[in-house]
């Protein structure tokens, strides 16, 4: 209860605070500290949920169960590490004159606002509020994407805004249809949108309405997840925004959007009693994996490259949840975690690499391992981890997903095999060229913040080799819920 | 293993070693007759060997230990081979040491050493000979294996002793499959022993020689050993052919009374084989090196036909 308030209140307060003083010299540290406190609160919340079980609070307005609490902890953690990274990164950007003080204030304030919306979306029990929070997250980040005010960044932000706006509007329509169905069972009023209530009566909901609702919700939230062919905002926004924002977009926003899809899928599954929702998700997942893999080989911008890789991974996770079943859902959750950690670590390393070489163009980033072995190795290991090479966590989940698919959806495995193969060749070829060989990089005025990179990679390594028992229990409980 | 066995082994080995140059002399003599020449005489190879042993050895400046070691190894291999093959008698102490496949390996060992030694000095001829020899051998080996398949199918064994016992010491049966195999074997014998039409032992013309090119740098006792080994090789091949296709007369193990008969039979067969060889060499012309694959392909074909005949006709084949 108090933890929930803290988890939500801290970033909100931080946002207000930094809106006022975000351009001061200590703003970056304040940003990190607030994120750290949020993380502590989130951990406390997690501990509480682990010991006491699912939790309903504030007139059922907030709800914490194994599924979202792990995402809350993950979000708070990545939020914290990203703020640590952005301290150095933004300072370098400021020194190079790419940012004014006012923009920095906007950045810090919106960063906290973004965290708030993410956590709100995760914690709320109300499907409507979930939608509101998702929309607010778009609004908070759209200005961050155009932070540099360059032509490209404005264009990216505009596309991001319009596409996600339209997408989220479709999701709203889906939510309305859901409400329409729920109201008949639960009666009009606030309770009809509460997820816990909906879940309880999900088999009484009208199937026709829910199937149409799910289409809208899937297309709507799917836009934010970055499913092909709704993904077009994603590479632009990742490439043109500041790198810390790319990290949180990839690491958090996509997850939360997928969380929304999965929550709704649980309702739809219950109502329909068929595998329709799962089939749709598998279809989108496979399409995303394939198309993203094909795009990967064409990329010339390093951040775009990893943005497409995010699309690919979101495709895999969507596929896993679409397949359903305890193992696949477990794997989906694990993959979410591992992907968030790894991808944000990669963006940290990429950010520093881009600053060192003064470019995001892959062909001009060469031989990182010579000038700064730490950045080079960070990028290399991160890249290897994201490509699903053991012993990293991404592999663990891909292992489970592929083996399960071989059994339950064998037709999909050749597509996955080809997609993963092409993606591997595409990313690794570029990665190798950037990390090894002759160098083009220079020294930075500030020592790079690599602590987050290696913390993340360490955790991902841990996930690949040893999933702590409570975490495994937790995943399993969530996977059981998702079904 | 009694002393008698060892004695018979020793006897066969020594007899073969000393008979080998004679066989070579016989072939040359036959050739001379066929060419309407008088010929150098049957014992000429012996005097050549003697002459060579008496000469001073001349070595190239950069010849290494490998070069000097090779003649001994090659000679040793051939002696070993001739001890294993049932020239006179089956089931000698050495005969289970190798079956036909291992014999092929033994010849390969000698050949590889020879080829390496040829390359050691670093002249154009040496390496030319080495690569041609290795090429011919590589192409001959699959066919040789196919040839061995047929008798092995008949006797359920690749051990020469068993083959001879099956073919010679049981009731007389004619195997059509063996005819194919024998034809193939003769062709391979020509190729492996550097005879016309694959190679010409009498030539020293740069562009056509194979075997002679390899031993061009050898002189004196090294050359003598090489020549002797070559004669032994021809002898061993002939003996293998005899054991596989016309094994009648070879003595059974420990059956001393059969030995004189075996010697006579052997001499007769060697004489016939040498004459046949000479005739074959006379009627064919040396072929271009790149025709050799076709020649060996033909041998391979015969061998496969033999095997298929055997499988098709079953026990009658």
């Amino acid at each position: 209860m108090i933890e929930i308030l803290l988890v939500l209140g801290l970033p909100l307060a931080g946002s207000v605070l930094l809106a006022a003083w975000g351009s001061r010299a200590w703003a970056a540290e304040a940003n990190s500290s607030i994120s750290f406190l949020t993380l502590l609160a989130a951990l406390a919340l997690t501990a509480r949920v682990i010991s006491l079980g699912p939790l309903l609070a504030l007139h059922d307005l907030f709800f914490v169960d194994p599924f979202n609490v792990f995402l809350v902890a993950l979000t708070a953690f990545v939020g914290f590490t990203t703020s640590v990274f952005s301290r150095v990164y933004m300072r370098v950007e400021q020194d190079r004159g790419r940012l004014s003080a006012a923009r920095l204030r906007l950045y810090h304030s919106m960063y906290q606002m973004f965290m708030f919306t993410m956590l709100l979306a995760l914690l709320t029990n109300n499907v409507g509020i979930l939608w509101v929070a998702m929309e607010a997250a778009t609004l908070a980040t759209v200005l961050l994407v155009s932070l540099y005010r360059s032509a490209a960044s404005i264009e990216a932000a505009w596309k991001y805004f319009i596409l996600c706006g339209v997408g989220i509007a479709q999701a709203l329509f889906g939510t309305i249809l859901l409400y329409l169905a729920a109201e008949k069972v639960l009666g009009a009023g606030g309770t009809a949108l509460l997820w816990t209530h909906l879940q309880a009566v999900r088999d009484q909901l009208e199937p026709t309405v829910l199937s149409i609702a799910f289409v809208f919700l899937l297309v709507g939230y799917g836009t934010k997840v970055g499913l092909v062919p709704l993904h077009n905002w994603l590479p632009d926004a990742h490439a043109e925004g500041p790198t810390p924002i790319s990290a949180v977009l990839s690491g958090l926003l996509l997850n939360v959007a997928l969380y929304a899809v999965v929550r709704n899928k649980m309702l739809v599954d219950g109502a329909l009693g068929t595998h329709l929702a799962g089939n749709l998700m598998m279809g989108f997942g496979l399409l995303s994996v394939t198309v993203a893999a094909l795009f990967l080989s064409r990329q010339q911008d390093v951040k775009r490259l990893f943005a497409y890789s995010s699309i690919e991974h979101m495709g895999i996770i969507t596929f896993a949840f679409g397949m359903g079943g305890a193992v696949a859902s477990f794997a989906g959750l694990l993959h979410m975690t591992a992907h968030s950690l790894t991808k944000s670590a990669i963006f940290f390393a990429v950010g520093h690499a881009a600053q060192k070489t003064g470019t995001q163009v892959i062909d001009r980033i060469r031989g990182l391992i010579h000038t700064s072995p730490a950045v080079g190795w960070g990028l290399m290991i991160g890249g290897i981890a994201i490509l699903g090479v053991p012993p990293f966590g991404v592999f663990a989940s891909e292992f489970l997903i592929l083996t399960t698919a071989m059994r339950s959806q064998p037709w999909a495995t050749p597509i996955l095999l080809a997609g993963l193969g092409v993606a591997f060749a595409a990313i690794f070829g570029k990665l190798q060229a950037m990390v090894l060989g002759e160098t083009t990089a220079q020294r930075l005025p500030h020592p790079p913040a690599l602590f987050p990179v290696f913390v993340h990679l360490g955790l991902v390594l841990l996930l690949g080799l040893y999933i702590p028992p409570y975490l495994a229990q937790w995943y399993k409980a969530a996977a059981r819920m998702i079904g | 293993m009694s002393l008698g066995f060892v004695a018979s082994q020793l006897f066969q080995t020594l007899l073969s070693v000393f008979l080998a140059p004679l066989m070579l002399g016989w072939v040359n003599q036959c050739r001379a007759w066929l060419q309407n020449r008088s010929g150098p005489g049957l014992l000429q190879p012996y005097s050549v060997l003697r002459k060579l042993f008496l000469k001073d050895a001349v070595l190239a400046h950069n010849a290494s230990w490998l070069f000097r070691l090779t003649p001994y190894v090659v000679f040793g291999c051939m002696v070993l081979a001739v001890s294993i093959v049932p020239v006179l008698a089956t089931d000698l102490p050495f005969s289970p040491a190798a079956d036909v496949i291992a014999l092929v390996g033994l010849f390969a060992l000698a050949r590889v050493f020879m080829a390496l030694a040829a390359m050691d000095v670093g002249t154009a001829f040496g390496s030319l000979g080495a690569r041609r020899e290795m090429l011919v051998a590589s192409l001959a080996e699959p066919a040789l294996l196919m040839v061995f398949f047929t008798p092995a199918l008949i006797s359920q064994s690749t051990a020469l002793t068993t083959i001879v016992e099956t073919l010679a010491h049981k009731q007389l049966t004619l195997y059509p499959s063996l005819a194919f195999a024998a034809a193939a074997f003769v062709m391979l014998l020509l190729a492996e022993n550097a005879r016309v039409p694959v190679d010409n032992p009498a030539t020293h013309l740069e562009l056509t020689m194979i075997h002679e090119a390899m031993i061009l740098e050898y002189s004196a006792r090294h050359l003598a050993l090489m020549e002797w080994a070559q004669a032994l090789k021809l002898m061993t091949y002939t003996a293998i052919g005899i054991a596989l296709f016309v094994p009648w007369g070879i003595a059974e193990a420990g059956y001393w009374a059969g030995l004189p008969l075996a010697i006579v039979a052997l001499l007769a067969k060697l004489l016939a084989a040498g004459a046949a060889l000479a005739v074959l060499e006379m009627v064919s012309a040396k072929m271009r090196i790149f025709r050799v694959p076709e020649f060996l392909g033909m041998a391979f074909l015969f061998a496969v036909l033999g095997m298929l005949t055997r499988i098709l006709l079953g026990s009658a084949g």
Binding site: G437 | L80, I101
Partner: protein, 620 residues
């Protein structure tokens, strides 16, 4: 570095033991059964030599970061060991990929060179695709939820269709690592790129882990085989072997030559495995045991002599700074130790008695000779003919190795190589260790086959020891002593004896006068080193005879050219038939996909709109 030397001792004894490390949900299962023990022995034996050698090699080779190399080297060794010990799919995959990764970093040690980076890239991509296929194999084999242990898979009976899917996936997946025919492309690139000890380990040991995996899946986990698997493996193996040896014959780089020779040997091994499958599918267990034993024996042998030869090339490269055959020659005089030990390896790999390469090939030929007994009329006519392909491959291997040894160590130096020096002490010990094993395994095949008995009993429930016991330890026999036997010890004794006797006789009766002079020049004075056969020249007959298999690019000058330049290069047709079309197809597809991203927001909205409409229509 020295720690690795103790490695084989630690893992020496084959024993069965289950070590479930207590992890929840995905515990790591380790198990040491005869098959893994055998391969561990192989790993230990070969890596001990390689490690001894690298102690000396890396110390003098001037490697930038020794610590890093050591880390990667040991990670590589450890992961190979875990691959062999793993008893569940997850641990196996983890170790498998760690192995690939560690070896990738070792391959790219010298990553400043673009070609090496390219080689490493190709290697890792193929390895990864293969790994996914292996993963899918396990996916097919698994019993159900969370049950990824091999134990569970053993108990699982699959329908023939699924079993075949699993086998084909395994063949593809492990084939990527082992370099079976169309998947071999990385091998001749990656092996030359790596430092020599690493090439030795990769070629000698790592490729064998793929064989291990294939055997494990086919015989252990799938316990029931379908006959055509064997035919497929046999055909693929023989094609690979022939392909490998032909390309080896025309190489001009000594490490590439060895790499292609590895392809050949792996092909032979696969053919042996195919034969074992074939026999076992028809219930001929003893024959299957013979083929399997030959296969395993050849694995062991190849591990030893191929590492030996790679290490020797390492010394040569280190001493001369050249690796192109066109620049070497006559090293037997500068590097007597390396030359002598390499000779052992050369003779062994050429399949000559009494060394180890021959023993395993002999057993394999014996197995082939037994194929007319197969109860299928097509097979009993075709498979024996296939033996000819094997014979051709083996014979050509002799050709290749004569070329290798002759051009590198014999003749005259083709460039100035006078500063070449022999290998140091550690390197000699490493080489010696491997060479000794080559000899020992060649001379005592019966012990090896005896040691393999638990494996053949376990996997194909056939045993060879019964027939062996009838004859003494000297004689290696096939099924029955009357059938065929081979006694390498007698061979060696016989040859040594006659050599000795002849030598003594010659010494005793004739004078030992030796005169040195220039080689005979056929009356054409001025012989020089450039007149020797070059590597290209030596391979020329093969190139001519098997021309259709190669893609040859020739450049010939016009008759009026004042400075004529001739060049010809040989390329792999597989590139043009398989890989480039794939790359092109992917490129075309991706440029098609690129059309999706036109930058126009209207289009993006249309996508979203169309998706919505299509889905709405779909669910109706």
């Amino acid at each position: 570095m020295l720690a690795v030397a103790a490695y084989p001792a630690l893992l020496g004894e084959p024993q069965t033991l289950v070590l479930p490390l207590g992890l929840p949900d995905l515990p790591f299962h380790l198990r040491l059964d005869p098959l893994s023990a055998f391969f561990l022995l192989l790993l230990g034996g070969a890596s001990a030599g390689v490690s001894l050698y690298s102690t000396g090699y890396f110390a003098t080779a001037g490697v930038a970061d020794l610590r890093l190399i050591c880390l990667q080297y040991h990670a590589f060794l450890a992961s190979m060991a875990v691959v062999l010990l793993a008893d569940d799919a997850y641990l196996f995959m983890v170790a498998w990929e760690t192995m690939a990764l560690a070896s990738y970093f070792l391959v790219t040690t010298d990553h400043g060179v673009a070609e090496i980076r390219r080689a490493g890239f190709l290697y890792l991509v193929v390895a990864h695709v293969g790994a996914i296929a292996i993963l899918l194999t396990f996916g097919t084999l698994q019993l159900g939820q969370w049950n990824y242990t091999f134990d569970a898979m053993r108990g699982n009976t699959l329908s023939p269709l699924w079993a075949s899917v699993a086998f084909l996936l395994a063949l593809f997946g492990f084939g990527c690592k082992a370099g079976f025919l169309p998947l071999h492309v990385w091998l001749p690139e990656a092996h030359p790129a790596a430092p020599s000890p690493v090439s030795g380990l990769m070629s000698g040991v790592m490729l064998k882990t793929a064989v291990y995996g294939l055997l494990r899946v086919t015989f252990d986990l799938l316990h029931q085989q379908v006959w055509w698997w064997g035919v497929a493996a046999l055909a693929l193996g023989l094609m690979t072997a022939l392909f490998g040896v032909m390309f080896a014959a025309v190489q001009t780089d000594m490490k590439r030559l060895l790499a292609y020779s590895s392809i050949e040997n792996l092909g032979i091994i696969l053919a042996g495995a195919g034969l074992a499958i074939l026999f076992h599918a028809y219930g001929m267990n003893v024959l299957s045991a013979l083929a399997l034993a030959a296969t395993l024996y050849h694995c062991l042998n190849h591990a030893l002599f191929k590492s030996l030869l790679f290490l020797a090339t390492g010394s040569v490269m280190h001493a001369t700074r050249h690796r192109s055959l066109g620049k070497l020659g006559g090293l037997i005089r500068h590097m007597p130790w390396v030359a002598a030990l390499a000779l052992v390896g050369t003779l062994a790999i050429a399949g000559l008695p009494p060394l180890n390469g021959f023993a395993s090939e002999w057993m394999l030929f014996q197995a082939f000779l037994l194929t007319p007994g197969l109860p299928n009329s097509y097979l009993n006519m075709l498979v024996p003919v296939a033996a000819a392909a094997l014979a051709l491959a083996v014979a050509l291997a002799g050709y290749v190795m004569v070329k290798f040894y002759g051009v590198v160590f014999l003749g005259l130096p083709r460039e100035e190589l006078s500063e070449a020096h022999d290998a140091g002490g550690w390197q000699r010990i490493g080489l010696l260790w491997l060479a000794l094993w080559c000899v020992a395994l060649g001379l005592l095949p019966v012990f090896v086959v005896d040691a393999m008995d638990p494996i053949t009993r376990g996997l194909v429930s056939g045993s060879l020891t019964e027939s062996m016991q009838e004859s003494s330890w000297l004689f290696l026999t096939a099924i029955a002593p009357a059938r065929a036997s081979y006694a390498p010890m007698l061979f060696l004794l016989g040859i040594l004896l006659t050599v000795l006797v002849t030598f003594l006789l010659v010494r005793r009766f004739y004078h030992g006068r030796v005169r040195r002079s220039a080689p005979w020049d056929c009356g054409f004075p001025g012989l020089n080193a450039r007149m020797q056969d070059s590597a290209e020249g030596f391979g020329q007959p093969i190139k001519q005879i098997f021309e259709p298999f190669f893609k040859i690019e020739r450049q010939q000058p016009s008759p009026f050219d004042a400075r004529p330049v001739y060049s010809s290069s040989i390329e792999d047709r597989v590139w043009y038939w398989l890989y480039l079309p794939i790359v092109k197809a992917v490129e075309r597809l991706s440029s098609l996909a690129g059309v999706l991203q036109q930058g126009r927001i209207h289009l993006y909205l249309i996508y979203s709109f169309a998706t919505l409409l299509v889905l709405l229509l779909l669910i109706q």
